[in-house]
Each structure stands twice: as C-alpha cells, then as structure tokens.
Symmetry: C2
Subunit: 252 residues, 2 copies
Amino acid sequence: MVKVEIIGVEGFPIVEAGDDVASLILEAVRAQGLSIEEGDVIVVSHIIVSRAEGRTVDLRKVRPSKVAENIASFTKKDPRLVEVILRDSRAIRRMGPRLLITETRQGFVCANCGVDKSNVPGEDVVALLPEDPDASARRIKERICSLTGKEVAVIICDTHGRAHRMGEVNVAIGLHGLSAIRDRRGERDLFGYRLRVKQTAIADELASAAELVIGQADEGIPVAIIRGYHYPRSETSTAKDLVRPRERDLFL
Amino acid sequence: MVKVEIIGVEGFPIVEAGDDVASLILEAVRAQGLSIEEGDVIVVSHIIVSRAEGRTVDLRKVRPSKVAENIASFTKKDPRLVEVILRDSRAIRRMGPRLLITETRQGFVCANCGVDKSNVPGEDVVALLPEDPDASARRIKERICSLTGKEVAVIICDTHGRAHRMGEVNVAIGLHGLSAIRDRRGERDLFGYRLRVKQTAIADELASAAELVIGQADEGIPVAIIRGYHYPRSETSTAKDLVRPRERDLFL
C-alpha cells in the first residue's frame, strides 16, 4: 500500500536565539515516544528557525528612513515595519493600501518580505526570514543526521499568497537533502505515452502537506515529519530552484 | 498525536465514459482491504472524472478554425489541439512558442486550458477538464455518502504551473463537502497575538498532499484518501472560492 504519514511534532518549547533547532526537534520527537526514521522529510516552520537565529527585530529600536516613511504613508503600515521590510527586500513588486509585496533576497515574491508578527514573543517584535534558509536547512539536516545516524531531508517553510488563486499555501523557502523539483519528463503514463511537461515542485507539495498538521496556531505545532514519501535525494538542490526568474515568468 | 495519513487507492481499472467514479473508488478501496471513514477527504485526479464524463476528444475529428490555425502557427502546437483548447477557454492570458496559457471557463489560469494528452487511451485523443468540476465533486461526494453512510469531502485536482515559482503543483479545481479556504483571521497565535491575515487555501494544500501518492504515473494511482485532517465542513463552498479575480490580483 502506498501510504504517506504526516506527523505533528508537539510539545515544542518557546524557541530562543541561540537554540539548537535540530536538538529541540529530536527532544520533542522523543518525548512523543517517536523517533526519526531513514528517509523522513522534516518540515520546519521558518518562524522557529528565525527565532533561533536571532532574526527578530524590536521595532522600538528601528528608526525609519524617509523612504520607509513615504511608503508607510501610502501603504498605511507602521513606518518602522516598512523600514525592516525594505532592508530585507531586493525589489518592491506591488504596493497599495495595507499591501506591500516584495521580492526577498532569495527571490521569493511574498507579502511584507516574509516579515511576521505572529508567533513572536513581545509586543513590538517581528521576525524576519532566516538569513539564508537553504543554509539553515542544511545545518539542521546535517545535525539531525549526525545525532540520529539517519539520512533525512529538511524543508523550511512559510505561507505565501499567490497569483491567480485566493488564500495562502505553505511553500518551501529553504531545503536540503532532496531535490526541490521532481523532473518527470520522459517517464511514461498509464498508456505508454511519454510525459513531455511534468516538473513537479515536490518541495512545495511537501510543505503544503505539512501544513495540514502545522497550520494550527493554537496547538503550537512548528514541525511536521513526513514519512513514507520516496523523494529524489540531492546534495545540491536548494529552494532557489523554485524561484521562477521574472523575465521567464509566463504566468504573470 | 496529530497525524494525517495519505493513502493511495491502487488497482484502479481503466475508466471509460459512463463509469460511476464513486463506485469504482469504493470497489478499489475494498479490494485493498480498506474502507471509507467518516471525515475522509477523497482527492480524485481530474483525468478519471473527465474520462467517466466522456470529456475526451478525438483530434482526428476536429476541424480547426482559422483562429486556431493562426495561433497554432505562432505557438507551434497542433492546430486541432489549439481548436479544442480555445473552445474551452474564456480568455488567452499568454502565448508564445510551445506555450498557450488560458483562463478556463471556471476561471483557473493554466497551460492549455487543462487539456491533457497523458493518461488518455488512444493516439490522438485528449481529455478536457470536467464540464463543471464542482458539480462532479458534489455528485461523487453524495454517491459515496449514500453508499457508505459516511460523511466525506471530495476534491477534484489537476497540476498547474504557477507565477513566481518553478514547477507544477496539484491544486483543487472542484470540491464539495469542505470549505476551500480556512479563514483563520481572528484566531490567536502562541503568544495571544490575533492573526490578521491568514486565509489558508486548505483545498489546494490537500490536493498537493494527495499528489505525494497520486504523482506516480507508472503506478496508476488516480485517487488518494486523506485521513485525520479536521476540515471545516461546508455545503456551499466551491473551487471558485480559490479563483482570484484578475482585477484584484495583487500578486501579478
């Protein structure tokens, strides 16, 4: 039987700057009476990685630039928040009242450059995306492998809005140990027809699957284990493989 | 423990026009020694629904119009295929060599209006999307409920390319029995902060999760059962709730 399991990692402590995310994951997994298995995909909500990496900003200490103040007045956002967003963005894609869609340094297009107020302790504290989410995924993956002796893959995820479709979905913003895209061109279908266009963004599908257990703010599940999915292993693939360059974006 | 299972429904027969998809699903599920349970989400690849509804076209019987011939010469596609695509589209969004992105009658933006050559028997036969995927989902859902006495939700899925991101992911193009979007605005996070922007496209996340077992052309798994996910029930939500109207699409 083909079966994939998505298991929520519960009982996670409040993550603080300097924490070792891999060890926290393993402790929480053990406390649930579980263990990491060979081939698991471990999907980690970016917010705990950002907090562990000290990627939080106290807005009371931010002095907005004139540019930020100008954009804040147009977007009706907190100028200090706009300042933090702009510092982390490589392009502004769209602005409007209560709306600021930017391109992150990694190339992801999302609201507020991924800067997040939720699940961050402190009245005026916001969390940025991890500095280099692929590097974060790699560190967590290597540490889990070395502590458990099991070969796993790690995905760091965030929820993004989308063109053409309403609502947000969880996507991969960093990864290590698996190929972001499964290239199925050349495979044959049920009737022997050779597939011509089929490159599945499996890292995004895994991130979305993980949110079926992560997406419960009140239950505090920041990590999911996906078990039973046979992913293509890779040492070189990163979440940048998921970025469609603007000049080649035919869906815009 | 929070756990969601995704189970592939195997041993599916070749679906033909006039087949009762709900009964075929139940037979295949029983043959695997399983049964449908209360609260299951049943994700069905659109291709078997299209075939059951007779939504296939033999290209040898299609006479392309002048418009189709013109577009075919620009896109380097089969003029008969272009004719079929255009008949089903309500707008062309983008054209180029080997590329024709249209808006389906339901409002979905995707390549070739969802017209598919793979997993369709016959050299020159292509499959269109179901006429009304939400109505198809409703029929399948109601029939499964009446045959099993279990309350379930049904999603009909297709793989779509995306703006901003490489690769295709599975999304919901028809649904019944659940809310396409889980509105989490007003919920509180771990630290009591009230979420302001959070509308999760759970039907798309469920479709993507399902592809972790469906996405194996060679194994012929056209249906997945997702078990253990507590979705918001709805009698009125449809996949049209997932269509972002072009004039309000801030991610373009």
